[in-house]
Symmetry: C2
Subunit: 235 residues, 2 copies
Amino acid sequence: MVKKELLYEGKAKKIYTTEKEDKLVVEYKDDATAFNGKKKGQIQNKGVLNAEISTIFFELLAEKGVPTHLIEQLNEREVLVKRLEIIPVEVVMRNIAAGSLARRLGLEEGTVLKRPVLEFYYKDDDLGDPMINEYHIYARELATEEDVNVIKELSFKINDILVEFLKAKEIDLVDFKLEFGKGLDGKIYLGDEISPDTCRFWDSETKKKLDKDRFRRDLGEVEDAYQEILRRLKN
Amino acid sequence: MVKKELLYEGKAKKIYTTEKEDKLVVEYKDDATAFNGKKKGQIQNKGVLNAEISTIFFELLAEKGVPTHLIEQLNEREVLVKRLEIIPVEVVMRNIAAGSLARRLGLEEGTVLKRPVLEFYYKDDDLGDPMINEYHIYARELATEEDVNVIKELSFKINDILVEFLKAKEIDLVDFKLEFGKGLDGKIYLGDEISPDTCRFWDSETKKKLDKDRFRRDLGEVEDAYQEILRRLKN
């Protein structure tokens, strides 16, 4: 599949059109950003690592019946995907308190939540991606009630699949971000990526962080952590 | 009903026990606070005005089938209520964008929302009463799913009743806060108050603010605004 023109360049990925209207090429970059773009850097080989890690997760989810945008990995940095119209709402699923949830609820980082928590965020850089709820989504007409119900159901299902899969790899899935979009067929698919950029992964035993928090919080060994995740996923 | 001992003193009210275990006396104060207690002042006659205004709203809601804590107004500042165990979650209902919602969604103040918005806030002064969602409520065990469903249903019903009632008084109900609690019978009742302290009321024609925003934003004529609301409610 030949890339035609650059459609969009984001913080961590470039998106290209192809000769097929309904297919896009996603190229994973080594660039890393945090805090709504205020912190910038590079993580060596991140693009290559995340392309492979995300493909493993998306193939697992597809096997379990989750509709995803993934068609196939093309090469070490590039993935072919279904073109989606992205819904401007990010879903964050949480199993263990960390980051903004720990601050919001006054919980110590590491507190296991009694039930998984789903949060919606409005994808809007100028507003700082604020947390919103379903009623905000309807009032702003960001998605219909029917779409939100499908997204919620898929998000909890994805959480169950990933928690179980990662548990066997001795990884705690602390929290992660999902994005959904509509295909040309009008159906909802999981889009974007699932990687150490978009998840918090902790070693189940030592609780060592194996994700982008190592970059956000200047903990060092960032590439090693991404490598370690890939190594465990392939075992 | 004779007041026994001071059970609790809040920013705008004092709560007293009575000789009956299941009944409390609420005394409305003239004290006004804003911004989580950072701004403090007094609004002359506020206690008297809010006691009467809130009683009018609670009697209206009771007539329409909403279970409330109100038993009767005892005198100009005091109201007799059912004792509730307050659920530590505030509900904010919104019909028109203002305040934090306008900021959160990047909407101009005064934008009429396509659908009413319900928001939950965690009643915790130390955390600054953060916005939360249903899943946070369940994870923190602040209320059960059954209770949350009752609270949501009552909140939308209350909004419908108040919007219609106030429309006839040429008042726009922009947004308002509700608190719920459980009676000794285990049922959910509407508690707290409904007044210009807890609602945004705008004149339908001129959009003049007739509520605590006059105090928050130093707009002057604060007591006049509360008086005007009471005058219209009694007409």
